[in-house]
């Protein structure tokens, strides 16, 4: 019997959840038969089951609702506001009773006769203003094939899969360490891809359509606007966006709060709206969309907007902002004041909102899950609130750093920028023992990770790296660490209470090498480090406010070229930095080329300088399709172009000069580089011919595809064509005219002597290089 009741309760719950939106939609379009039917079906089901389970009150309620709805279905009655409210009230009561049954409690006390009486035609009952729902009209009514699973089970599966991923990583590490057979590697690869697929699938099971969050909104807004005597049209979009189930629960309260605010303070009463020249009915639109690994939820109303000046006055009155500072606040900062504790825009406190405990809580709740709240408002036109939240809580992009040899991770979402303590735009000072870093004119408190953790770092203070962090709900501070390692996506697990008690950590995770890593909580570090996080934020912002608004700074990489020139290259085109031995750089195919790994790239930036022996460092530049190398001597710093650029007269490698960090620097024109170095290579579209005289299976099966991939047409002796290049095995006889453009292949890895210019047949890179240069010879 208990099982049956549990099933009944679960079924009721599901139907109740789905109904919330239906009823309001039905009220807006009383003729919509399908909605009426689904409501009817619900009360009918409840009635049927109650009889069986002996819940007389439930039965009476559902029976009364069924009768009234049956009349509507039969066309004997037209649903008016009063009736809809009465049906809603009954459905609510049914919901309460179902919860009570589920909890095994007694039925909530109360008399149902009033509710039933309200159903009678012409019953008194306040005629409620109608809310029109513009929700998606074509909601699929057919339920997908589903089964019901307990959340605990799903969580267990999820955590097992996480463990599996970690176990796979460990296995991968062990395999790397030991010699393995190709079949073993193959099997492991297959296992890896299956696990990745499984992880995706299981992550999706934790995902829920955000609809679950939205489905209750029309009803809530309807009740709210009825209470306040307002008219609101709800427009909901993007219900099919999926979000981690836990995350949905985390944003439920903040979202509700924002919507209540919008209806209460944002949207005006119908009469006021008419006076302001707007339509009587206010529009509240709620939309969700996915952008990268974030979900954006927009709540937009066309109400009266937020009066920034009023906010400032209030803030001054309540002492949140000093008067002199208040005058300098930008409109955006003025609006941001609504997130300050103890400030409310409402003149009077209503039951619904306006007690001044709200937006600050909203912000801190959203920030706690790594999200952001933004506000934008035009007085008289409306307000837009945007919530940005990450997709999931369990996998966090993080930066790994080390201090005194121990590794830690920092959530990337909190990182504002990374600078070197001895960089040009950074100075470190000590005031009464406290560290203060000045980064591009902005002073931020500096915290040494070594001293917070009581670890001894051997690194001098000025050699460390500063990570500028903005913890949730707090202000910037700089954390000095010894070294920065890598960006990683970490599967984070909660740490044991004894570890969490330190207040420094947000969880633990396993690195690729299988060792545990602690993930920092940036707010916790600030707290332990004694950084005062309040109020400062605004002052810091005021100080740099105007500058920030005009600089459309482009980030550049400042470096010293091989000839000692100070140059800058836009950061976006730099893929990475490589170090190669100078013997990898050769004049080939009409220009300098460098061999990096298996790739041969055109090389720029040498400026005719003689490359000594040893290592050459180069940027690998990428335009999306091609890569080129750019040699340099040393990286100076990351910087931004803030001053005017004096352009050069004609297109060349250097497109202009600008003051960067107080000194002139030449701006390298990446477009010119690609146009001249890559363009030259791709201009030759004419197909070159490669002669392979000695036909054997190796040549046919192994060599030929490689040569063809390099852009050659392969011929043999029988074709009697003039070849651009000939490939032959050492010791073969050749037509005389081909001898100077022949690539000789040898079977042994080691050359026979100093003069032996042949290439080992499996030296892929060498072979490709030779093909490239041979092909270029004809172009000249």
């Amino acid at each position: 019997m208990d099982d049956l009741i549990a099933d009944f309760v679960a079924e009721c719950r599901e139907m109740l959840e789905a109904l919330g939106g239906e009823i309001v939609a039905w009220e807006a379009q009383p003729d919509d038969r399908s909605r009426l039917d689904s409501i009817f079906r619900f009360v009918h089901t409840v009635k049927g089951n109650c009889g069986f389970f002996e819940f007389p009150r439930l039965e009476a309620l559902s029976h009364a609702a069924e009768d009234a709805l049956a009349d509507v279905r039969a066309g004997r009655r037209h649903p008016d506001g009063g009736m809809v409210s009465a049906v809603l009230a009954i459905i609510d009561r049914i919901g309460e009773m179902v919860s009570a049954i589920e909890a095994g409690e007694d039925m909530p006390a109360g008399d149902d006769s009033a509710l039933i009486a309200a159903l009678e035609p012409g019953a008194e009952g306040v005629s409620v203003p109608v809310v029109t729902a513009a929700a998606d009209g074509t909601r699929a009514s057919a339920a997908p094939r589903t089964i019901r699973l307990s959340v605990e089970l799903l969580d267990r599966v999820m955590s097992t899969v996480s463990d599996m991923v970690l176990a796979r990583n460990e296995l991968a590490r062990r395999l790397r360490e030991s010699e393995t057979d190709v079949p073993v590697d193959g099997a492991f690869e297959r296992l890896s891809s299956i696990i990745a697929e499984m992880r995706d699938a299981i992550t999706r099971t934790r995902m829920q359509r955000i609809e679950n969050l939205f489905v209750g909104l029309p009803r809530m807004i309807r009740d709210l606007s009825a209470e306040l005597g307002k008219q609101v049209l709800v427009d909901i979009e993007g219900g099919d966006v999926e979000l981690d189930r836990e995350m949905i629960e985390m944003i439920r309260d903040p979202l509700t709060h924002i919507i209540r605010n919008a209806v209460d303070h944002g949207i005006e009463k119908p009469a006021d709206r008419l006076k302001a020249g707007k339509r009587e009915i206010g529009v509240l639109s709620v939309s969700a969309r996915q952008s990268g690994n974030q979900i954006l939820i927009d709540i937009h109303d066309d109400g009266r907007g937020i009066d920034g000046k009023k906010l400032v006055e209030k803030a001054i009155a309540s002492g949140i902002v000093p008067k002199d500072e208040a005058a300098q606040l930008s409109p955006r900062d003025q609006l941001a004041l609504i997130f300050e504790a103890g400030l409310s825009t409402a003149n009077e406190v209503t039951a619904i909102s306006g007690r001044g405990v709200g937006m600050d809580v909203v912000r801190s709740n959203i920030e706690r899950i790594g999200g952001i709240v933004e506000v934008d408002s035009k007085l008289g036109e409306g307000t837009r609130m945007t919530l940005r939240v990450p997709l999931t809580l369990t996998i966090i992009p993080a930066l790994t750093v080390s201090i005194a040899g121990q590794h830690f991770a920092i959530p990337r979402s909190a990182i504002e920028e990374i600078v070197r303590a001895n960089g040009e735009s950074v100075t470190l000072e000590h005031l009464g023992g406290a560290g203060v870093a000045t980064i591009r004119g902005r002073r931020v408190p500096e915290v040494s990770l070594a001293s917070i953790l009581d670890l001894d770092s051997e690194m001098e203070e000025q050699d460390r790296t500063l990570i500028v962090l903005r913890p949730a709900g707090g202000d910037l501070y700089a954390l000095s660490v010894d070294r920065i390692h890598d960006h990683e996506e970490l599967v984070v697990k909660p740490a044991a209470p004894a570890v969490m008690a330190t207040g420094l950590y947000a969880g633990t995770t396993l690195a690729d090498d299988g060792s545990p890593i602690l993930l920092f909580d940036p707010a916790g570090i600030a707290e332990v480090g004694g950084v005062k996080l309040e109020a400062q934020e605004r002052t810091a912002r005021i100080a740099e406010g105007p500058a920030a608004s005009i600089s459309k700074a482009a980030p550049v990489l400042l470096f010293r070229g091989l000839d000692g020139g100070r140059r800058a290259l836009r950061l976006a085109v730099v893929d990475r930095i490589e170090e190669v031995s100078s013997s990898c750089i050769k004049e080939a195919a009409g220009q300098l080329r460098v061999q990096v790994g298996e790739a041969i790239l055109p090389l720029a930036g040498t400026g005719g300088a003689v490359l000594g022996d040893g290592k050459v460092r180069l940027f690998r530049l990428n335009d999306g399709a091609h890569e080129i190398g750019y040699a340099f001597a040393e990286v100076i710093d990351f910087a931004t172009i803030e001053n005017d650029v004096i352009h050069s007269d004609r297109p060349a490698e250097v497109s202009g000069v600008s003051l960067i960090n107080g000194e002139p620097a030449e701006l390298v024109d990446a477009h010119w580089l690609f146009a001249n170095h890559v363009g030259a290579a791709t201009r030759r579209t004419e197909q070159r011919v490669c002669l392979i005289p000695d036909w054997d299976p190796w040549m046919e099966n192994m060599l030929r595809p490689l040569v063809e991939a390099a852009g050659y047409r392969v011929v043999d002796n029988a074709d009697e064509e003039e070849a651009d290049v000939v490939i032959a095995s050492v010791g073969e006889e050749l037509p005389e005219d081909a001898s100077d453009k022949t690539i000789w292949l040898r079977a042994e890895p080691e050359p026979k002597g100093k003069k032996d210019e042949s290439i080992y047949r499996y030296d892929r890179a060498g072979l490709l290089m030779a093909l490239k240069s041979a092909g270029a010879g004809r172009g000249k």
């Binding site: 460990e170 121990q406 044991a496 004894a498 570890v499 008690a501 330190t502 633990t508 995770t509």
Partner: protein
């Protein structure tokens, strides 16, 4: 009443842990220290892709430090509140059967032992102190504070 007990040695004393609470016995090698954590948290260790919080039982009992410098230590893995802990002990001996329910120890024990004691159990090896795993994990310091 035949509860199984895992006999271990902590600070030279033979004591019993409820075997049901112990998932496995492992040998720990590398520990990742947790700076600023309570002193009895010796660090973190990974075992089969799980993170274990390593508890130094000597320090939890305020009986001194376990010397971890010689590398490999034996530890009993237990689960508490969804987290896995490795309790460093001097030696893991054997699993034996309890011959009695825990009885109060009326003699005065050292302060640390007093905190973690669940009573005395009779075994074929004579009486053993039954140790409360949760108290061991919380550490004497924490219990005092609470």
């Amino acid at each position: 009443m035949n509860e199984l007990l895992l006999v271990v040695t902590i600070a030279g004393e033979r004591v019993a842990l409820p075997a049901a609470a112990v998932e496995s016995v492992v040998e720990l090698d590398a520990l990742t220290p947790v700076p600023r954590a309570a002193p009895h948290v010796a660090g973190l260790s990974a075992q089969r892709s799980r993170v274990l919080t390593v508890i130094d039982c000597m320090r939890s009992l305020e009986l001194g430090d376990t010397d971890c410098s010689d590398g490999i230590r034996e530890a009993a893995v237990v689960e508490l509140g969804g987290h896995h802990y490795a309790l460093i002990v001097d030696l893991v001996e054997d699993v034996i059967e309890a011959r009695s329910d825990p009885l109060p120890v009326r003699a005065a024990m050292g302060a640390g032992w007093e905190w973690v004691s669940q009573g005395m159990v009779e075994t074929d090896d004579g009486p053993l102190l039954l140790v409360d795993v949760a108290a061991l994990i919380a550490g004497v310091n924490e219990s005092k504070a609470a």
